[in-house]
Symmetry: C2
Subunit: 338 residues, 2 copies
C-alpha cells in the first residue's frame, strides 16, 4: 500500500555523491564523461547510483547546459498510418543517439501547428521536424528567433525554413501519369485529397497537369476530383467518375482512396483494369494484397524519417552547416490493376 504523500523528488546527484563519498561534480563526470575519471572513482559512483536508484534530472541538466535531447515532431494526423513509417524512422535514429521525441498533430491547420511549435520551443527542444510546409507568419518568426534547426518533410518546398527531406510530389505524380499513358491509357482522371491547405495535394495536381500537357492528353476538369480521406471516399469517387463519359484510368493520389475504389469496383462487377484501371500513390501493404494488386508508387517514407533525424543530429553536432534539400527517390510499382 503506497502512501499518497507529496510527489517525491527522488535522490539527487548530491545524494549519490554523499553515498559514494565524492563531490557532485565527480558523479556528473562519471555519468557523462566516464573516460575522464579514475576507474576506482567510477566504480564507487556507479555502485552508489544503483544503490540509491538515481535517475538524473534532465530538466536541470538541460537548463544548466543550455542543450536538450528532445526533438519535437508535428504531423498532420496521428491516425494516418502513412506518417507512421516516417515517425518510426525518426524514432529509431533518435533513440540510438539518446534523444527523446515529442509529438503533436496539426490536424486543425497551420494555427494548430503554431501552437504545437510554441509549446515545443517552451520545452526548449533541440530541433523540430515538421511534416507540413505551409506555416503561419507567427510560426516562421518564432522558429527564426529561437534559432533551432528544422527539417520539413511533406514535399520538396521551394521556400524551406531550413532543411528539407522529401521526395517530389510533383515529379511522382507526373511520373505515374506518364506511366499510365505509356501503358496506353488516354482518358486519365485524378483524385486527390482537398488541396486547400495541403501542399502535397497541390504538388500532385500540378505534376498530373504537367504530364497531361506534355502528352497532349485532354484535361477535363470533371476528371480532377478532390475527396476527403478514407475508403468510402475512394468508392464514391470511382462511382461518380464512371457515370457519363468515363475515364479509362484513375489515378488516386492520396490516402487509401485507391483501395476504396477497387473494393467498390468489385462490388459493382467492374473489371479492373478491363473496365477502368486504377493506380495509387502510396505503397501500403494492402495494395499489394488486393485482387488485382494495385499499381502504385513506392515512396521512401521510412528513409525520410531516418534522414531527417540524422540531419538534425548532424546539425546539432556541428557536423553540417547550412540549409539543405534532400531529394529522395520514388519508384513506380507496376501491378495488375493497370
Amino acid at each position: 500500500m503506497d502512501d499518497m504523500t507529496e510527489p517525491r523528488s527522488g535522490p539527487r546527484m548530491r545524494d549519490v555523491a554523499r553515498a559514494a563519498g565524492v563531490s557532485a561534480m565527480s558523479v556528473s563526470r562519471v555519468l557523462r564523461e566516464p573516460a575522464l575519471v579514475s576507474p576506482e572513482l567510477r566504480a564507487r559512483v556507479e555502485a552508489a547510483v544503483r544503490e540509491v536508484g538515481y535517475v538524473p534530472n534532465r530538466l536541470a541538466g538541460s537548463l544548466s547546459s543550455r542543450r536538450s535531447e528532445v526533438v519535437g515532431l508535428v504531423v498532420p494526423s496521428l491516425e494516418n498510418s502513412l506518417f507512421a513509417a516516417t515517425v518510426k524512422g525518426i524514432s529509431d535514429v533518435l533513440r540510438r543517439a539518446g534523444f527523446q521525441l515529442m509529438i503533436a498533430d496539426s490536424g486543425y491547420g497551420p494555427e494548430a501547428e503554431e501552437a504545437a511549435i510554441r509549446a515545443f520551443l517552451g520545452q526548449r527542444v533541440a530541433g523540430l521536424i515538421l511534416h507540413d510546409t505551409l506555416h503561419t507568419e507567427g510560426t516562421v518568426q518564432m522558429i527564426r528567433r529561437a534559432g533551432v534547426p528544422v527539417v520539413e518533410n511533406g514535399t520538396l518546398t521551394e521556400t524551406p525554413l531550413d532543411m528539407v527531406v522529401s521526395y517530389s510530389n510533383r515529379e511522382a505524380a507526373r511520373a505515374m501519369t506518364r506511366h499510365l499513358a505509356r501503358l496506353g491509357y488516354r482518358r486519365i482522371a485524378l483524385v486527390t485529397l482537398p488541396a486547400g491547405v495541403n501542399a502535397r495535394s497541390r504538388d500532385r495536381r500540378l505534376g498530373f497537369q504537367e504530364a497531361l500537357a506534355e502528352l497532349g492528353l485532354p484535361l477535363d476538369p470533371r476528371w480532377m476530383l478532390e475527396m476527403p480521406p478514407g475508403l468510402a471516399s475512394g468508392a464514391e469517387a470511382v462511382a461518380r467518375l464512371m457515370e457519363g463519359e468515363a475515364p479509362d484510368a484513375i489515378f488516386f493520389a492520396g490516402d487509401v482512396l485507391a483501395a476504396g475504389a477497387l473494393l467498390e469496383c468489385q462490388r459493382r462487377g467492374w473489371a479492373v483494369p478491363g473496365r477502368v484501371a486504377i493506380a495509387a500513390f502510396d505503397n501500403v501493404d494492402l495494395l499489394a494484397h488486393m485482387n488485382p494488386p494495385v499499381t502504385t508508387l513506392h515512396l521512401p517514407r521510412h528513409e525520410i524519417g531516418t534522414r531527417s533525424a540524422q540531419m538534425l543530429l548532424d546539425r546539432l553536432a556541428r557536423r553540417q552547416s547550412g540549409p539543405a534539400t534532400v531529394d529522395l527517390r520514388f519508384e513506380i510499382i507496376q501491378r495488375a490493376s493497370t
Copy 2:
C-alpha cells in the same frame, strides 16, 4: 542569411520585465495567474511579451515548481494503426489541458520499455501511459520509486501497476467465439499474434478456450495458430488451416490477419462464409468495406486514450486518489462474412 552563431537562449523573463518596467515576478504572474494582477500591469506585460517574442522556459519552470506538463507514452509499435486511435485520444485530452506528449516504442520487448521509461523519468514526466502490461522488475521498481501515476492500456491485467483503462481481451474473445457458435459454426479455429510477450494475445486465447469448453466444442490444438502480424500472415494462416480437416469458421484475433485471409479466399475462389466464415478482432475501416464485409469486434480504442489521459490529469490535480480499473465495453459487429 542567418548567421550561424551559438544557439541563442532567447529573451528571459527578466528581459520582459525590464521592457515592461516591472519585476520578473509580475511577468510570471501575468502568465500563470492573470486574475491576480491589475489590468494595466497585465496589458504592459503582455505587450512586452509580444515585443520581445518571449517564450517561457518550461525546463526552468518545471525545475522550480517540481511539476511538469509532459506525459510519457510507450506503445509496442509506432507503425501499427491500431494504437493510433488511442494515441489520438490521449493527445486530444492532453492538448486541451496544456500538456505535451512524449512517445517511445517498446518494439523490442520489456527491456526496451524499461529504457524508454527510464528516459521519460529522467525528463521528469508528470505521468506515464503504457500499452503493455508485462514489465521487467527494474521497470516496476523505477516507477514505484519515482511515484509517478501510471495508466496501463493493453488489457485488464489483474496485477496493475496503478491504474488500468482497457477492455477485457479475454471476454471479447470469449464473446466472439460464442457468437460464432450461436450462428451455427462448430469447428472454430483461432489465429492470434505470438503470445510470448503479448498479454493481449494470451488473454484472447484464454477467452477462446473458455468459450469452447463452455460450449462443449472440440479444441483441436492444430486449430490454434500463432502468426506474425501482417496481411501475408493472414493469407498463409487460412491456407494452412483449410488443408486437411478444415474448420467452418476462423476467428482472427489480431492485427489485419482477417483481411489478409479474406483476400486470400478471394484469390482461391473460396466462398466466405460458404466455405469458411471469417471473423476479426478490431473494427478497422477496411473490414467494413471488404467483400463481404467482415464480422468483428468494436473496441473502444479512442476512448481508452481519452479516459487514460483524463485519469492521469485527475490524479495530478488530486481529484482522484487511488489505483483504479476501468473496464470499457466492446461490441460485436455482425457482418456478412459470418
